[in-house]
């Protein structure tokens, strides 16, 4: 059985037309199933917990970055509480609306109706996750460099005294530096990229370190996670033991 969960903002009338077209397309593709619309009082966690007790084939969330991140965290919280459940059930994603919805491009998933065809192709990818305190993330976390103190793998620390950015990368999306520095993914490791300006030449100076765990603190700035959530520091960041299965498109960036 397929289960679809619609984000709260999709209850607005302006989305009725596109949702109707998506539901028609899903039916045409033989992927129709149970549709659940979030309301002001409903809890995504409780809904997912109830639905994963049944034997569902795919859980597809419809919305933007927020519902995707919250779904991944809800599933992992359920699996950590009830260790008998498997994380093999793939998560599908249908992005609707451009606002706060940039992760889909990196998953190779088009917007609206075209995302249904990605679901039908069922290209499932097993993806490493990052963990920031008790929160899981998929792509990157970012913070201002100036004033950031980092302790890496319990071996050494880094101090940064210049403006710039610190990126913790599982799968790269926003970091221009990662493109410049030939980013490569090693299983079980993340990449720490620090980009600061050189004073004399006004060129960027880039530092690059692979790590498994780090502690990060900046009293003046918050950490931006997957371009959607801001968290205050200090935080512990590590490669999560858990992995997630996502339905992705051919044009994914990893």
């Amino acid at each position: 059985m397929h289960v679809y969960i619609y984000d709260l903002y999709l209850n607005q009338k302006k989305y009725n037309n596109i949702l109707s077209k998506i539901e028609t397309r899903i039916t045409d593709l033989g992927l129709n199933g149970k549709i659940i619309r979030l309301t002001e009082t409903s809890s995504l966690f409780s809904i997912i917990e109830n639905e994963t007790k049944k034997n569902i084939k795919t859980l597809t969330v419809v919305g933007n970055n927020n519902i995707l991140n919250n779904t991944i965290n809800s599933i992992l919280k359920i699996y950590s509480n009830k260790q008998t459940l498997s994380t093999n059930m793939p998560i599908g994603f249908i992005p609707i609306g451009k606002e706060n919805n940039n992760l889909s491009a990196h998953l190779g998933i088009d917007f609206d109706i075209k995302a249904c065809d990605i679901l039908a192709s069922r290209r499932v990818e097993k993806i490493d996750l990052g963990k920031i305190n008790n929160l899981y993330f998929l792509f990157e976390a970012k913070i201002e460099a100036l004033g950031t103190f980092i302790e890496v793998d319990n071996l050494y620390s880094l101090e940064i005294n210049t403006k710039g950015s610190v990126d913790i990368i599982n799968l790269p999306i926003t970091s221009q530096s990662s493109k410049d520095m030939n980013y490569s993914k090693d299983a079980g490791f993340f990449e720490l990229l620090i980009s600061t300006k050189k004073n004399s030449l006004n060129k960027n100076s880039v530092s690059k370190i692979k790590f498994q765990c780090l502690k990060l603190h900046n009293p003046n700035h918050q950490l931006l996670v997957d371009n959607s959530l801001k968290i205050s520091t200090p935080v512990n960041i590590e490669v999560a033991k858990e992995k997630i299965y996502l339905i992705v498109g051919k044009k994914r960036t990893f």
Binding site: T162, T196, S207, K208, K210
Partner: protein, 127 residues
């Protein structure tokens, strides 16, 4: 062996410590390491080490397979293979490497030994 261009940051390095970064502690890496900033502690890699001309290192030991030093190091160097010391290098400490090349203008204040036996003896002493 090393990038010949003037830009000392090489894309082949797995680990790069850029300008305005200060490292404290036991710095380890499996791949090539490039250091352009400051480091206080120790350095250990099984591959190549590149120390830029603006880098400042104060270490109990600096160990690598091959190394090219252009910056300031206070501490002992143990290089299993080839050590290249350029004219801008300032080293205060003992050096042991299988092969050493020292450019005119480099400043070295310490004992210097080369040949395969020198690094073997240093390994045994350090143990």
């Amino acid at each position: 062996m090393f990038d010949k261009s003037k830009d000392l940051i090489t894309k082949d390095s797995e680990t790069i410590i850029g300008h305005s970064i200060k490292v404290k502690g036991d710095f380890q890496g499996q791949g090539n390491i490039t250091i352009e900033g400051e480091l206080e502690g120790s350095i250990l890699t099984n591959n190549n080490l590149l120390v830029g001309d603006k880098a400042r290192i104060k270490a109990s030991s600096v160990q690598a397979k091959d190394a090219k030093i252009s910056g300031t190091i206070i501490g002992n160097l143990i290089i299993k293979g080839y050590l290249e010391i350029t004219k801008t290098a300032k080293i205060t400490g003992d050096i042991a490497a299988a092969q050493i090349s020292i450019e005119k203008g480099a400043s070295i204040n310490g004992n210097c030994s080369s040949g395969a036996q020198s690094t073997l003896q240093n390994d045994q002493i350090n143990k």
